[in-house]
């Protein structure tokens, strides 16, 4: 199947190095301490953060740092075929762990000992790149909750089909069986916190694809900063500053 036609356009009309349209909104779940919606094309994800709060399970309490927990769940209607079991399956457990480790790396946990921070991510629509959308949404939600972090974490995926590196794969391109590299970075510190890859890739090509994904992450980072700045201006105006 042809994923990049001779004119250089992908199945949805994008260029190989073009990301899908990003859209973010902060403060959607009023009951949560922080929440955000993040859309990458047709992938739509809601993240809610509850914390820092008292640890529910005393045995897991840590005296030096905060406990970070994360749960990833997909809605029944998020994929094309109706899913039977929204949570508890292996893929969800793995992604929950991945998001938890990525966010734990950037939260200043030593500032909040004996407390717990819960990050809940709910996928409303899945069209490829859900992992990245979840991490981006979680970053915004943590910022909305006012939890201290060393830097924001942004994530993006890239692949390699028909001999071309492609940025931000959607579901059709992802299920084509080609490689899928997901990268999560701390943009200001220029450090990689998440790196995962499916399938196989040649060493030189891998460097190109990872570089492309990192560029995508930086583009997401500048968008997230804009959104946070806009949000802060709104908060200021509401407080009459």
């Amino acid at each position: 199947m042809e994923f990049v036609n001779p004119e250089g356009l992908r199945l949805d009309g994008r260029r190989p190095m073009e990301m899908r349209q990003l859209r973010a909104e902060i403060g959607v779940v009023s009951k949560a301490d922080g929440s955000a919606v993040f859309e990458m094309g047709n992938t739509k994800v809601i993240a809610a953060v509850y914390g820092p709060r008292e640890v529910q399970n005393r045995s897991q309490q840590s005296n030096d740092e905060a406990l970070v927990r994360c749960e990833y769940s997909m809605a029944n209607f998020s994929t094309g075929d109706r899913m039977r079991k929204p949570k508890g399956d292996r893929r969800s457990t793995e992604i929950s762990m991945v998001i938890r480790q990525t966010m734990e790396a950037c939260i200043l946990t030593h500032l909040m000992p004996r407390s717990q921070i819960d990050i809940f991510v709910q996928v409303l629509q899945a069209d490829g790149g859900t992992r990245s959308a979840c991490i981006n949404a979680a970053t915004l939600a943590l910022a909305d909750a006012g939890i201290p972090m060393t830097d924001i974490v942004t994530s993006c995926s890239a692949g390699f089909l028909n001999g071309t590196p492609l940025l931000d794969l959607n579901y059709v391109e992802d299920s084509a069986g080609g490689p899928d590299v997901t990268v999560g970075i701390l943009p200001k510190l220029d450090k990689v916190t998440l790196l995962q890859m499916d399938s196989k890739l040649q060493m030189e090509t891998f460097e190109t694809v990872m570089q492309l994904a990192t560029e995508g992450c930086k583009a997401v980072a500048s968008y997230i900063r804009e959104v946070l700045l806009e949000n802060t201006k709104q908060l200021e105006s509401r407080r009459g500053v």
Binding site: V28, V29, S30, K31, A32, S35, N42, I46, A47, A48, Y50, R53, R69, E71, S73, A75, N76, F77, T79, G80, R82, P86, K87, G88, D118, F120, V121, Q122, L124, Q125
Partner: protein
């Protein structure tokens, strides 16, 4: 949820006594309803309803299936509600399962008249209202229309053939601030108004015991008929009075709650009583008539919101 102090509890109860609730509403006023349809493109129909801080999404998926052998000319509907942990941290893992099951079965009762969906809910009525006298029960039973709510025979494709439409209704609670049942009922009603069922051609040649060939059209669609779909009104008893659309704080002070589902014709499609306190039969009748009164306003509001949302959709597409 953080516990309420004695002062806060007294404030809530006192306010309700004086017809002035904590957020300024009267006892029988709903919070502002915000409705959006067609938000899930891959579903046959979908809607999102925000009732104050309560936020729910409903999606309807239509698939071909085999009818129940006992009801060969009716389709099937299954309702499943999922409580997302984004609404409450306690819904994490399997924590939300109990509430999900309660909401799913309450909705099945209210919208389908029971699990099979094909009969009336006489049996459910006798189980729910233990303290009723016999003449009261007969009065209530006469209000029940057989097969009220979602009309399953409209889901039959061809009588006698072994194909029908299966409707999968999925609800997701994104944010909860009380009164989830009403919000879910409204979202399902809106999602059903938004649902399109593809036109099918059934091959007439196949013998009646085999599954016939069905040709599903990609272009022609039929709008699902929602004139009989009811709305759910929950009346929560706090102190000596009933309130409509309780928030989580008000629900924590409730002694009992009655949820009534009423359709446009004023027919009761289902009834559920929750809470430990017993109710005198006349009180139950009062609540039902209060619910009927409130449901008219709610029905009109929902219908106008749904029409506005659909018009918005059409303009965009």
């Amino acid at each position: 949820m953080v516990g309420l102090s004695l002062g806060e509890q007294t404030f809530i109860k006192g306010g309700i006594e004086q017809d002035l609730r904590t957020d300024g509403r009267k006892r029988l006023t709903y919070r502002p309803i915000f409705l959006e349809t067609g938000i899930i493109p891959q579903a046959s129909g979908s809607a999102r309803v925000k009732l104050g801080a309560t936020d729910v999404i409903a999606s309807v998926k239509v698939e071909l299936g085999k009818p129940n052998p006992s009801y060969p000319d009716k389709g099937k509907v299954s309702i499943y509600v999922d409580c997302s942990p984004t609404a409450e941290p306690s819904f994490q893992g399997r924590g939300g399962e109990e509430l999900s099951t309660e909401l799913s079965s309450a909705l099945e009762r209210c919208l389908l008249g029971g699990k099979s969906g094909a009969g009336t809910t006489y049996e459910h009525m006798t189980i729910r209202l233990r303290s009723l006298h016999i003449h009261l029960l007969q009065f209530l039973v006469s209000e029940f229309a057989p097969g009220a709510g979602i009309d399953l025979s409209s889901l039959c494709i061809v009588r006698g053939k072994k194909v029908c439409w299966d409707l999968y209704i999925d609800g997701l609670v994104v944010s909860s601030d009380g009164n989830m049942l009403d919000a879910l009922g409204a979202a399902i009603k809106a999602a059903l108004s938004n649902t399109v069922i593809p036109k099918v051609q059934v091959s007439a040649n196949a013998p009646s015991d085999e599954t016939p060939e069905v040709d599903v059209s990609d272009e022609e669609f039929l709008q699902f008929d929602t004139s009989g779909v009811p709305v759910i009104v929950t009346l929560t008893k706090v102190g000596g009075h009933y309130i409509v659309d309780a928030t989580t704080e008000e629900e924590s002070q409730m002694s009992s709650a009655v949820s009534v589902s009423i359709n446009r014709l004023g027919r009761i499609c289902g009834l559920t009583k929750r809470g430990g306190a017993g109710l005198h039969p006349t009180v139950v009748l009062d609540t039902i008539s209060a619910a009927k009164h409130v449901s008219e306003q709610l029905m009109n509001k929902l219908d106008s919101e749904i029409a506005a949302a659909e018009a918005c959709d059409e303009m965009e597409s």
